[in-house]
């Protein structure tokens, strides 16, 4: 039978995948994707704890995380578009070099 620890272990693995992405990627858009992966992993953990402890608080926090992710994407993509218009690249190394 599937218990709480199964879900938490899957959530931890997905979170670590996102963490590897954040550490490894140099492209800003890919960094955003890795952040989404981490947020989704935390949502799984919240929903699982909410189910197994029969408590709605976990689901509430998952809703607010989704709202935060949506606004993060809206603002972040605007900033990425401005950066791309200005520099023509989204690579972090190139952007760091351009600072001069």
């Amino acid at each position: 039978m599937i218990g709480l620890s199964h879900y938490l272990i899957v959530s931890a693995l997905i979170f670590s995948i996102g963490l590897v992405g954040v550490l490894r990627r140099r492209n800003l858009l890919m960094l955003f994707f890795a952040t989404e992966v981490m947020l989704n992993a935390v949502n799984i953990a919240f929903a699982a704890i909410s189910h197994y402890y029969n408590d709605l608080t976990g689901q509430m926090f998952a809703f607010f995380i989704i709202a935060i992710a949506a606004s993060e994407v809206a603002v972040g993509l605007g900033i990425l578009i401005v950066l791309y218009k200005k520099h023509g690249t989204l690579d972090l190394d190139d952007l760091a070099k351009m600072r001069g």
């Binding site: 550490l23 490894r24 990627r25 492209n27 994707f33 953990a45 809703f63």
Partner: protein, 186 residues
Amino acid sequence: MYEVVAFYLFSGLTIGLFLVTVMSKNILYAMTSLAAGMVLISGFFFILGADFLGVVQLIAYVGAVMALYSFAMMFFDATRDIKEKNTNSALVFLLGGLSALVLVLMFAAPIHSDAITALYPMHEGVGNAQDVGIVLFTKYLIPFEVAALMLLVAMIAGIILAGKKMDQSLTEDMSADEILIQKDEK
């Protein structure tokens, strides 16, 4: 039985798809696998009985966020493979693996669960959407309103950042025709 099969299927597929997201060199592959992984995560929510959360995940993540990403693809060159200098890749995988190990050990550790009591317990015979609605609009009303305000601020910020000529007033300094003429001259 079905729950077990569904859990292992969803977890395997989700981990695989997110690995593609993190490792792929092509932005389109990364984006589509991220969208597919999010659909499967809503499957986790449906198994866990969080129906409303699953629907919100489908609408907000797969619908809105991924549509926003694919809309932003129009600004970037999405067909070309991205070139990245991946220095010290072994160190990154070592750190990622270590953090995975630590997180798994932490989450798998036995906890004293008798002391944990539900703050807002679910009700028997009431659907998940009703339960969520009651708690969200009574106990979490102020965070809900603040989240609405935050989404409004984010929407305005997105429009200002992505829109053209938003730093100029269309009415005061020059008329709209003059701006259009100026654009044509460029």
